[in-house]
C-alpha cells in the first residue's frame, strides 16, 4: 500500500484511458473521411428534386419515386439505367468517377436531371 505507487498507477491508468479515447476519436474521424456519403433525389410531380445534384466521388445517390406514376432513371450516356420504379420504389447508383451525368426518365423524356460528381 505504497500511496505513491497507487497514485502513479492511477495517473497512468487515466492517461492510458485518455490516450485510448483520443485514438478512438481519431480513428472515427479517419473512418468518416473514408466512408462515402449518401445523397438523395426525390421524384415527384414529373420532376427530379433537386434537378442538379453535386456529390463527391464515391457517393451513392438514391432516387425515390414519390409520384403517383411510375418513372425511370436513365443516364443519357448509358452509364446507368433503372428498371421502372413505381411509387415508393428506389434506385441507387454509386458514382466512382468524377464527371457530369445528365439523365432523364425514359417513360416521360421531358423529365431531366444532372448529377455532378467532383
Amino acid at each position: 500500500m505504497n500511496s505513491r505507487r497507487v497514485w502513479f498507477a492511477g495517473i497512468t491508468a487515466q492517461t492510458m484511458i485518455a490516450i485510448a479515447l483520443l485514438l478512438g476519436a481519431l480513428q472515427n474521424v479517419a473512418a468518416a473521411d473514408k466512408q462515402p456519403a449518401d445523397a438523395a433525389v426525390k421524384i415527384d410531380n414529373f420532376t427530379f428534386e433537386p434537378q442538379t445534384i453535386t456529390v463527391h466521388v464515391g457517393t451513392t445517390v438514391t432516387w425515390t419515386n414519390r409520384d403517383d406514376i411510375p418513372h425511370t432513371v436513365a443516364s443519357v450516356d448509358g452509364v446507368f439505367r433503372s428498371k421502372v420504379r413505381d411509387t415508393d420504389e428506389t434506385f441507387s447508383y454509386t458514382f466512382s468517377k468524377a464527371g457530369t451525368y445528365p439523365y432523364y426518365c425514359s417513360i416521360h423524356p421531358k423529365m431531366m436531371g444532372t448529377v455532378v460528381v467532383q
Binding site: 414529373f46 409520384d67 403517383d68 411510375p70 421502372v84 425514359s106 417513360i107 416521360h108 423524356p109 421531358k110
Partner: protein, 322 residues
Amino acid sequence: MPKHENLIDQKLNDLNNDGVDRRGFLKCMAWAGTGLVWTLSGGIPVSEAFAAKMGKKAEKASFSFVQISDSHMGFNKPANPDVVATLQAAVSKINGLAEPPEFLLHTGDITHLSKPEQFDNVDQILKSASAKDVFFVPGEHDVLDDNGKSYLDRYGKNATAGGWYSFDHKGVHFIGLVNVQNLKAGGLGALGNEQLEWLEGDVKTLKHSTPIVVFAHIPLWSVYPDWGWGTQDSTQALGYLKKFGSVTVLNGHIHQTMQKVEGNVTFHTAMSTAFPQPQPGKADSPGPMKVPAEQLKSVLGITDVNYVRGQKSLAVVDSNLA
C-alpha cells in the same frame, strides 16, 4: 357545363381559318346527351345533336368501330382505385351501342407496368365485348424494361418487327404506328426512320380516294410539347399522307378528348378508361387528375367511329361512361 364550353372554344381555336364563318354557326349549336357527332361535309365541320344524328347514321353507315385507350391495367392510386371496373364499364358501353362495332382499336397504355398479368387481365375483360377483333398499338407503359418484348410477343404477330402494321377493312386502310420506343432525353414521341420508310412504302400504291385511319398512342400533332404531348417526326409521316382525300388520326396518351382539323386530316384523341389528366398547362404536371368519385365515369370514355361509304370523312363520336 363550363367544361364543355371550354372544349367547344378549344375546337374553334384549332380549326383552320379558311374564311368560312363557322363560329356563329357552331356556337348556336346545342351540346346534347353524352356525345357529339362531328362530320365533315365538303371540308366544313357540321355538328348535330347526338341523339338526332344516330338514327339516320345507323341506316347509312357502312361500318363502325370503337377506339378505347389508356386502360392502365394495374393502376390503383386514388385517381381510380378500380381500373378493372371502369374498363368493364367501357365494354358495357360498347355493347350498348345502337350499331355494334366491327372491331376495336386500343391506342395503348393497355397496362400500367407492362406486367404479364396486366396484359392478361385486359384481354380477359375485352373478351366480353361484342366486337371480337381488337387491334392494338403500345403506349409507353406497355414497353417498360424489356424493349417491348412482352407487348410484341402478344400483339406483334401480324406486325413488322417494330410493332407497326396496316390492314384494310371494307375499303378503308388502317395504319397502326408505334411512337413510344427509344424516346430521347428532352424529346417527344418518335416514329424513327425505319418506321417512316415503311410507312412511305405502305401507302405508295394506294389510290388517293382511299380513306386512311392512322392510330398511334402519343398524339401525332403538337398538343402540348412541354408535357411531351406530341411526336417529333410526325410531320414527315403526315407528308406521306398528303395525297389522300380523307385521313383520320386517332390517338390516346393525354386522357382527354381533343380534336384538330388540318386540311384533309382530322386528328382526334380519346378519353382514358382509367383516369383523366389535366388540360394542357392547367396543372404542374400531366399526371393522374383526381375528381370526386361520383364524377369519375363522366371523364372516362370510348370513341365510336362511323364510316359511311361515299362520304368523304369518318364521323367520330365520344361517349363517357356515366
